[in-house]
Symmetry: C2
DNA sequence: CTCCTCTGTGTAATCGTGTGCACAATTCAC
DNA sequence: GTGAATTGTGCACACGATTACACAGAGGAG
């Protein structure tokens, strides 16, 4: 039981020990299969004694079902994704699904990594990263039925997707800032090449347009605190903007710190700063960010629902749309 | 190539298409095996055309080598672990190893989950969580040769471990605070039941004892910002302490916010606050925490080195010790 | 020219489970 | 008491790749 048995015992060996065939061993571990009650109990007892557990690799090969799920993410540490990752991992584990994390900075490495994961016959793929194109995903995981991608607006019959709509929340936030008298707006992107960035900026741009305004300045960071800090200094100093809409909460926190420490400005009077995501840290007392927030639980519920439809074999593409709400803090 | 081939092509089918045997297919994908140059190139071309990739599950079954690594963590979002997780995941992926994340709040669920992962014949296990006892780990993964556990001070021949020594850094920090005139110290634990908490507290307690001092107050949080905030209010209000040593950086940030917002105290003059971990967020301008910090890169280097010794088949237990250094901020 | 080495490929066994089929034993219906 | 339905178990194959062994042919040494 405890101790260092170097090699794991197999079902055939256990069969010999229990005086049955290996088929019967297998049945003892399959909840609904024809097997005598007494036999099963005896087998389970012997199995416990010798520390036997069916080999999931062999089972997967036979089943054509690995119970592995690939999660493609931009980063593990980044708080805006981390909360969702954490929730999803818990939900998967509750379903006896094991998550494999794919996380890569470089683009070609990422594709390579996705190819490697597809080799492991993962049952599902959840793509959190906006750095991978839908076409690449479909090509690489062509065998894993439709894929679940978050955000991307394109239609593709082999992909299930989750759409986010933040236009109403963005409108409310812009409304407040404009009524506070701000006129010059800047948008601070997290990256210049992703559709999610374009999408988010679009919500705010539309809200501004409705009021005859536009973004007077733009900047591009990398979703990090440091980049938020640095770019905000430039935007305030050089472009004299009165409001900065940031691509995520972490950059917004950096921007707020820059306003306070470098330029001695306070929010929301001197400058308005808005984040996006609604991470827990945004609600910390030291931050108290105004942000366009997405309900993470609802988001993950949606992912899990898509996975379940998948498992149930309901085919065709599926799509779920979620709407954002504002979180009002002291920065706008 | 692109498109929705529902079923993945097998090596036997590809063999027929290429006019060779399936053994030759296999050889074409094994870098150093006896095969004609021309044959290999032809096979690889046909494979590309039909989107063939060897099935890693089948290969694992045959090889007795899954190239999967189980990472047991307390939480994914928690910044103090996240940076290390991120680093490790990258390093593993560079070695073509795939990480499976095991993350569970409840204790019995966690053991269940570890049993499930062991079923997948993982090649290595890295335990970041201080919530799992070494004995449980050895019992569950008895087949995975020695396991890698971080921190735990116990000796066990089936486990490789990484030890952390923060006593010297703690001494330097306490020295500074005492010279600043502080007399009443409190320790704010992240959990009351783990050896890592005892270990960390011990470093500071020892440094205090050397100076004839002791912790006058104690509190227990849960490593979260909120718990740091709440407990710090009590410690300052009720116990009138002049310094709080926190179990991690996130609680220290909460404590610092509590001092500033609830009690109107400023650091380090009114109160000294010390964190532990040295996460990136501690260095953000809005936090600027004094903290006992561990070099994450060195830490992960050590983990990877243990994994490599493992792979090389060097058996016996291995142990690596790392020392912490202070990071000086404006909170102590 | 003969023998020997080396290269390239096919055959067949193996890794550990799951499951359709066959068959014996038991139970049930009438 | 006989035929039919049900239950419990074993046999054998499949899942998809790797690899030891065998063998044919090419090339080199003498």
């Amino acid at each position: 039981m405890s101790g260092t048995n170097k090699r794991r015992i197999t079902s055939k060996e256990l069969a010999k020990l229990a005086g049955v065939s290996s088929a019967t061993i297998s049945r003892a571990f399959s909840p609904d299969s024809r097997i005598g009650r007494a036999t099963r109990e005896r087998i389970l007892a012997v199995a416990r004694e010798y520390g036997y557990q069916p080999n999931a690799i062999a089972r997967s090969l036979n089943n054509q079902r690995s119970r592995l799920v690939a999660l493609v993410v931009n980063a593990i540490g980044n708080p805006c994704e981390a909360e969702e990752q954490q929730l999803l991992v818990h939900r998967l584990q509750a379903r006896q699904l094991l998550p494999i994390i794919l996380c890569c900075a470089d683009h070609s490495d990422r594709l390579q990594l996705m190819r490697l994961a597809s080799t492991y016959q993962v049952d599902h793929v959840v793509i959190f990263s906006d750095m991978v194109s839908m076409q690449d995903a479909v090509d690489i995981f062509h065998t894993t039925k439709p894929i679940i991608v978050s955000f991307e607006p394109l239609e593709n019959e082999n992909v299930s997707s989750i759409r986010i709509d933040g236009s109403k929340a963005a409108d409310e936030i812009i409304d407040k800032i404009v009524r506070d008298g701000k006129k010059r707006f800047a948008y601070l992107s997290g990256t210049n090449s992703s559709w999610i960035d374009k999408l988010r900026r679009g919500w705010f741009a539309e809200a501004l347009a409705k009021r005859g305004l536009t973004f007077e300045a733009q900047a591009v960071g990398d979703y990090s605190y440091d980049s938020g800090f640095k770019e905000a200094v430039l935007l305030m100093h050089r472009d004299k903007v009165g409001a900065i809409i940031c691509g995520n909460d972490v950059m917004a926190i950096g921007a707020r710190d820059a306003a306070r420490r470098v330029l001695g400005k306070s929010t929301p009077d001197d400058i308005a700063i808005v984040g996006q995501d609604g991470i827990a840290m945004a609600a910390w007392d030291c931050n108290d960010l105004t942000t366009l927030s997405l309900d993470h639980v609802a988001f993950i519920d949606a992912v899990v629902e898509l996975i379940e439809r998948h498992d149930a074999g309901i085919d065709g593409p599926h799509s779920i749309t979620l709407t954002c709400t504002p979180r009002w803090g002291s920065t706008a």
